[in-house]
Symmetry: C2
Subunit: 510 residues, 2 copies
Amino acid sequence: MARRRLATRQRTTARPAAEAFTQPIFAYAPGAILPEEKIEAIHAASLRILATMGMRIQSAEAREILVAAGAEDAGDDIIRFDPGLVEEKIALAPPEFLLEARNPARSVRLGGRHAVYSSVGGPAFVSDLDQGRRAGTYAEMCDYLRLVQGLDILQQEGGGPFEALDIEQERRHLHLHHAQATLLDKNWQPTGLGRVRARDGLEMAAIALGTSREALTDRVVFTCIINSNSPLVLDGPMAEGLIEMARHGQATVITPFTLSGAMSPVTIAGALAQQNAEALAGITLAQCVRPGVPVVYGAFTTNVDMRTGSPAFGTPEYAQAAQISGQLARRYGVPFRSSNATGANACDAQAAYESQMSLWAAMLGQAHLVNHAAGWLGGGLTASFEKLIIDAEMLQMMAAYLAPLEVDEAALGLAAIADVGHGGHFFGTAHTLDRYATAFYAPLVSSWENHESWEERGAETCAERANAVWKARLAEHVPPPIDPGIDEALRAYVARREGEIRAGIDHPDQ
Amino acid sequence: MARRRLATRQRTTARPAAEAFTQPIFAYAPGAILPEEKIEAIHAASLRILATMGMRIQSAEAREILVAAGAEDAGDDIIRFDPGLVEEKIALAPPEFLLEARNPARSVRLGGRHAVYSSVGGPAFVSDLDQGRRAGTYAEMCDYLRLVQGLDILQQEGGGPFEALDIEQERRHLHLHHAQATLLDKNWQPTGLGRVRARDGLEMAAIALGTSREALTDRVVFTCIINSNSPLVLDGPMAEGLIEMARHGQATVITPFTLSGAMSPVTIAGALAQQNAEALAGITLAQCVRPGVPVVYGAFTTNVDMRTGSPAFGTPEYAQAAQISGQLARRYGVPFRSSNATGANACDAQAAYESQMSLWAAMLGQAHLVNHAAGWLGGGLTASFEKLIIDAEMLQMMAAYLAPLEVDEAALGLAAIADVGHGGHFFGTAHTLDRYATAFYAPLVSSWENHESWEERGAETCAERANAVWKARLAEHVPPPIDPGIDEALRAYVARREGEIRAGIDHPDQ
């Protein structure tokens, strides 16, 4: 125990000097793995799907909006899209936008050369090494948010790390948003499921920013995940959420879950054609609601394990699909969203190599929004405290890799090489002493000890060290300041809406 | 125990269909992270280092060869190189070559679009989950070689996975080569330390191929690692090994160990300028010995932990340096060697994410030879049985990622999408049934089970599954056929040389 405490103290005082709130910038060229004519073939196939099959859209309002814009009502809730309509609407989407946070210093640009890393959102379970996987509580969820707030490499919170199952489902989103709006001063994601919840998110974001829901239309505060129900269905709650967000000028992240072999063809090319069709349909709807509203091209194509039918993540096929999705999004000039996904159930080597496959594909595809960038475990059913730390390390490493190398006379260091001479060493040279403190990436959870020191400290695995790191960070956590008036207004909103929900009253502004 | 046996059987019968001896092919463009003018700046800086500082070369024969070619003897064992001489000699190196194996079906191309993955070579220790880290024996080393032989993703054995400490050092290389030549039918690396050992390797490779040492000059059977002693020293045994190999037409892999902050400047640009100078000096020497002999540009620049002075691996700086080294090697039209390195002491998440950083940098840098591609642990001091399996999985995944995606009418699958319709599933369609068996990468050690099944099977980590995998593979191992006459001739050679070594007689052909 004494040893653990010592180790923890040493680690936290050695916190990376480079840790500071910044955005990774794409300075290198993106990686294209399909030639342009094959990207065009996928594009053309998806337009054919939209023109002939169309999408089933389970919202009368959405269908009306699309038909008014020139889409064809094919009956049975199916809307067919003329290629010209799709091309025209997609061209309206901006290539990048400012995404505002409660703390203006933590507002970020999304799109262009700017990337945003977002923490895990939506799992049913929480896990840590002490208690294993379990249903989560509101108090634990708040702890998770505090860690997300403290990790500067996460520029956005991803929409609630796991369900707080000690709060009834109907009013859970209110408490989530209260926690997000007060425990974080960085941007956070809302829930896009249905109009009522979308509107509660908008109201609470407006309160947190000291403005009104109506005034939000001129500022982007949300990237709201909208999933199609593959194949080729946009369900009612998702369509409502999309419309509500777009109407308020907020960004929707249109993300089909085209699981190759199950909800889309067993070929990755076919899965991508279908993904592209569903994404373009959602983007078209958003642009019909409000021309020029920010949208993000979301991709989540992966494959199933054909023996069991369950999804696999971070596979070679997943990496190819993510990178090609980036090529498609660039073709449309729309920001691109990918993920950091793994099917592993433990914070072990598999979790890391599948996450790395996902992250490198996101980086090479130049994903502007990496959703679930930190904390995702077990195919997305679990938010892990240790994985949060391990992923943060991987993200920090990727950001450091993305920082362009200096190559000037001083960096080339020929004078130092001449000073040291043949067979010497550089430890004591002025060139080294001037730079050593910030020369290299300093790790968060990696052990660079030799085997003997590592054994002496207890031969901890990376996951065990991550356990100590999150506990130490939580113990040292400094909450971001919040205007007491804003906190009070948020509490009052939650109380009022809980009363309405208990009384069975829908959102008053419906 | 019964459960373990069952799990093992299931895993091994599910061996990837795709597992077969092939070479990864670079079909995508390499990743350039430095603009061309900065590559030229590094190139120019390294030529200045060679022209002004030169290299200390601790072999009179090597110095004579270089001076005869026009280099300047600056006294004190230092040779200075005129830029014109370096440029002229480097231009002689071939961009790719055939590397022969005992089994001709396992000969490989090295360079151009072809990659070779090589198993770990050189560690002092062996480790597995059962016994931890320890000094290794010859019997254990043979088991390791059997696993390397059986893993088709490893196209080459990397020069002895760890030291067999139950054999005296002076004659250890003879037994290593006997094991390599008989337990493997794929290509293997020799030791390049000193003329005597280099010549023993050549003699034994010749016997294994049914030819003579003299006749090897027309066939490449070796890629021999030659490390400079940074900064700017090529020691005697390495210079001798280089000359001996080049004289016999064999490929040398000139690899400076430019540890940034210790044996090279604390700036990665400076470390790369020095690496490039040392690599070009070695390549120049090889081309002076035998014009047109294959050489490989080796890179191993990484950084130290500035708090302890010990080396770190798979860091952001390492990844940048590896990728830029690929750019430099492409500038010279010389094949490029990188590595799969990690500083982790356990087969945990850190081992995987540092290895992935190394492997993606090698892939993007288009490393034609990935040395230590499988099995390396603990900063290269340990060869791990479990890491061998985990790395093989990562390499197989990378090779699958590198296989270009089919995008034709059949792959786009529009007919299947039309058949399934809105909200259906693709499990039973003809399009799926025709392809499902080979559609996706099948894992070697990853678990894609859901949490419940994974827990029921014992909640094994990836390292624990890897432990079961290598034992099962060893139990099922089928050795490659070997001509008894060749085995006999190799044994006779080892016996004769052991006698000579005991009697203090140097290599008879010296």
